[in-house]
């Protein structure tokens, strides 16, 4: 249950009820005083409303229930700069920390989940590296919840490639049967081919990380 207490201002001719634009020309002290005189009565009314019934005693039982649905959410830094290798024409590399929170249902009832990666916009400008040409790969570090991808994955512009497989009965944070950390995390280590055929310049691409609970 949720209650919203709202004050509505339908009048413009009472002190403290001015529209913002009407009060801009007031001196600070005057504006403060008028603001207090407008809100203070309403705060008192609210306090009385909350305190109503305090004169008697009684008890009430309210049953509250909440249905927690399986869900997941993911967060990644907005940008990652890939760094040139130590010697000519060795791959560019960079690590991306992926944070996530997940709740899946117990095994037997069903839900598991996945985190995937997909190149949503290939490198631009054209002429340089291209994910479509398999220039971008990644490996996964260990995942604090679930099983991280194994081996080298080739990022794709057309398909989602695996990052983490999430098990049933997963929950994030708090310890016990849940993970000890909140959020959970996994590191992606990207590698971009540095071919001599690429013209000099700066190239950017977008990668989208998705979490899905099924």
């Amino acid at each position: 249950m949720q209650r919203d207490l709202k004050f509505q201002n339908n009048s413009t001719d009472k002190p403290g009820m001015e529209h913002l634009g009407d009060s801009l020309d007031l001196e600070p002290a005057k504006r403060w005083r008028r603001t207090l005189s407008g809100w203070l009565p309403r705060l008192l009314v609210s306090a009385l409303a909350v305190g109503n019934g305090a004169g008697g005693t009684g008890s009430a039982v309210q049953t509250m229930s909440a249905t927690l649905q399986p869900k997941g959410e993911v967060s990644v830094p907005s940008s990652l700069t890939l760094t040139a290798g130590g010697s000519p024409f060795t791959p560019f590399t960079g690590g991306l920390a992926v944070s996530y929170r997940v709740r899946t249902t117990p095994s037997g009832t069903g839900s598991t989940g996945t985190i995937t990666a997909q190149v949503s916009a290939d490198f631009s400008p054209t002429g340089g590296p291209s994910a479509s040409a398999s220039a971008l790969t990644y490996t996964c570090g260990s995942a604090s919840i679930g099983t991280a991808c194994s081996g080298t994955q080739t990022a794709s512009t057309t398909t989602q490639t695996p990052v983490v497989t999430l098990p049933a009965s997963a929950c994030t944070g708090g310890g016990g049967s849940c993970s000890s950390t909140n959020p959970a995390s996994v590191d992606l280590n990207f590698s971009l081919t540095d071919s001599p055929a690429y013209p000099t310049g700066s190239y950017t691409a977008s990668v989208i990380l998705r979490i899905s609970i099924v």
Binding site: P28, A29, R31, W32, T35, G72, E73, V74, S75, V76, P77, S78, S79, L80, T81, L82, A84, S87, P88, F89, F92, G94, L96, V98, S99, Y100, R101, S120, F123, G128, P129, L136, P183, F190, L192, D194, S195, P196, A197, Y198, P199, T200, G201, S202, Y203, T204, A205, S206, V207, I208, L209, R210, I211, S212
Partner: protein, 184 residues
């Protein structure tokens, strides 16, 4: 009191800062997007495929020279508009032991370690016959702006000619030549 007077005017700014600070952090959602960026700079590298080049003489008379070929593979990327590149070589260790050919102090004027160059598919090979030196680098090839090698690299070679002077004592003589490549 003066602080209280400032409060109404500062409050909107503080709220705005809070909103901006929270929006600057990465947000949790069903998906998240990150932008990968890489800056590709001019680079160059080469590999000598003939680790030891044997100079051999085709005949038994002194009017012939010793000849041999060193092959190499190079990769180069020069800057789009203004870049240049070079491949050079230098005799970093003169022939030894003494008593035979020498790049720095030949027994007879005109004795030389000379070479011609070849580049495949990219760049301009050195022109004519070049004389190798122990004191300065000499050209093998040059490259212009936006020179881009094949992914596997391009090939090149240097064909050597060493004078066969009758003053050289019999024996085996070795020298070391260092190739270098650069790009801007």
């Amino acid at each position: 009191m003066s602080r209280l007077r400032l409060l109404p005017s500062l409050l909107p700014g503080c709220l705005l800062l809070l909103v901006l600070a929270s929006s600057a952090q990465a947000q949790f959602a069903a998906s998240g997007t990150t932008t990968l960026s890489a800056t590709i700079a001019p680079e160059a590298a080469l590999q000598i495929n003939t680790s030891t080049t044997t100079l051999s003489e085709a005949g038994t008379t002194f009017n012939l020279s010793f000849t041999g070929t060193t092959s190499f593979t190079f990769k180069i990327r020069t800057t789009k508009a203004t870049g240049t590149g070079t491949i050079n070589l230098k005799v970093t260790t003169d022939f030894s032991p003494s008593g035979g050919p020498s790049v720095l102090t030949p027994p007879t004027a005109g004795d030389a370690l000379a070479y011609t160059c070849s580049l495949t598919g990219l760049g301009t090979a050195c022109s004519g016959s070049q004389t190798a030196s122990t004191t300065s680098s000499t050209p093998v090839g040059t490259f212009g702006a936006n020179a881009l090698s094949a992914n596997a690299g391009n090939s090149g070679s240097v064909s050597w000619t060493l004078t066969d002077d009758p003053q050289y004592s019999t024996g085996t003589y070795t020298a070391t030549v260092t190739f270098s490549i650069s790009a801007t």
